[in-house]
């Protein structure tokens, strides 16, 4: 997997941010709402921006010019590729896990 495993305890928020941005550019507040709807838990501002900082540093997302006094972020091509690879890996693990559970 290209990069997300290096995020340690931020790996889940990082993944959720990438999934949220896969739909289109969003600012922090919109990401919080979207992640709350996706995962059932609203990330705190510190957790969210800790992950945003690392994703930006890795080049997976990039900031866009401010709109209505808020800065939106969007996925980069490498972020899209990393997300695709991670979701494919998760699907493989999930498929295998569910199959084994059904067999046991």
């Amino acid at each position: 997997m290209s990069g997300l495993t290096e995020f340690g305890r931020f790996s889940e928020p990082a993944l959720l941010i990438l999934v949220s941005l896969a739909e289109g550019p969003k600012h922090g507040y919109a990401m919080q709402d979207d992640i709350a709807a996706l995962a059932g838990d609203r990330p705190g501002p510190g957790t969210l921006y800790g992950a945003i900082r690392r994703l930006e540093e890795q080049g997976f997302i990039q900031a866009l010019p401010e709109r209505e006094r808020r800065k939106p972020y969007q996925l980069t091509d490498s972020g899209r590729a990393a997300l695709q690879a991670e979701l494919a890996r998760m699907r493989a693990v999930s498929t295998a896990g569910l199959r084994r559970l059904a067999l046991s």
Binding site: H27, G28, Y29, Q32, R42, P43, G44, P45, G46, T47, L48, Y49, G50, I52, R53, R69, R70, K71
Partner: protein, 274 residues
């Protein structure tokens, strides 16, 4: 912004706070669970500090510190090269003109003149540097780098020159701190002026310390730096042997160049966000 929000944002390392602080503050201002979110921001801010201690994050700091330590040696090398060129040019001109009594004068003028292009180059070089820490720390790195040169290139005992270097470090460090503060408040010209004038005074003070301990004369001590920096005859400050400049070797030029470099670095400080 609430006092509590300001307080937890202050826990972040400055680069992170400068970059993401307003966005985090915006989320805190619209938080539905302010207590939980404040705790989350405080925990994340402390985590940022912990992660800042990893080698990858420390590497730019280590590289910049190593650059500061190596800089005096590079300046000394460049100075000696330019000095050799200047001295050879003076000697050649004197030989062509058929003047035989110009050796000492040529030496003095060459040693003063050679420092100027290197000091100008140091300012230019510093203008392109981006230190990952405050420029106010630059004199510390430069003093550490200059110390081996002080011990190696010394016409008298080591202690007077070490005392001079310590004095230069304390004075330039204090000046840089003040100048960085001025730049951050948007007073760049005043900062440059403070460090330029203060830098000269710091050098005068440093060599006065050296002069009074090595030469034992207060009148010589105060004139030591101006005389050597301007390539004047040391006899005008009451140095009968006229060899005060010989004893200090390249140190006046080196500290002049280091002061210029510290000045250049201060100009790269960023203005604080309001």
């Amino acid at each position: 912004m609430s006092r509590a929000a300001r307080l937890v944002l202050a826990l972040y390392p400055r680069p992170v706070r400068d970059r993401y602080g307003p966005e985090i503050a915006d989320l805190l201002a619209h938080s539905r669970r302010p207590g939980r979110d404040l705790a989350d921001v405080a925990r994340s801010a402390l985590a940022e500090h912990r992660q800042a201690l990893t080698y990858t994050r420390l590497r730019p700091h280590l590289n910049a510190a190593a650059g500061l330590v190596v800089a005096p040696m590079a300046f000394a090398g460049a100075y000696l090269a330019v000095y050799t060129l200047c001295a050879s040019a003076f000697a050649a001109v004197a030989a062509i003109a058929g003047v035989s009594d110009t050796y000492q004068t040529s030496w003095r003028i060459a040693s003063a003149a050679a420092a100027l292009p290197i000091a100008a180059g140091a300012i230019w070089l510093a203008g392109h540097a981006r230190l990952p820490f405050t420029s106010a720390l630059a004199p510390t790195g430069l003093a550490v780098g200059a110390l081996p040169l002080v011990l190696l290139l010394n016409g008298t005992g080591s202690w007077p020159m070490i005392a001079a270097l310590g004095c230069w470090w304390a004075a330039t460090g204090a000046l840089s701190t003040v100048a960085v503060g001025l730049v951050r408040r948007g007073r760049r010209r005043r900062a440059v002026l403070t460090l330029a004038l203060g830098g000269v005074l710091a050098c005068v003070l440093a060599f006065a310390v050296y002069g009074s301990s090595a030469l034992g004369s207060a009148s010589v001590a105060l004139g030591v730096y101006p005389v050597t920096a301007l390539g004047m005859d040391p006899r005008i400050i009451g140095d009968p042997a006229g060899n005060v400049a010989d004893k200090m070797t390249i140190m006046p030029a080196l500290l002049t160049i280091c002061t210029a470099y510290a000045l250049g670095l201060v100009t790269t400080a960023r203005r604080a966000r309001r």
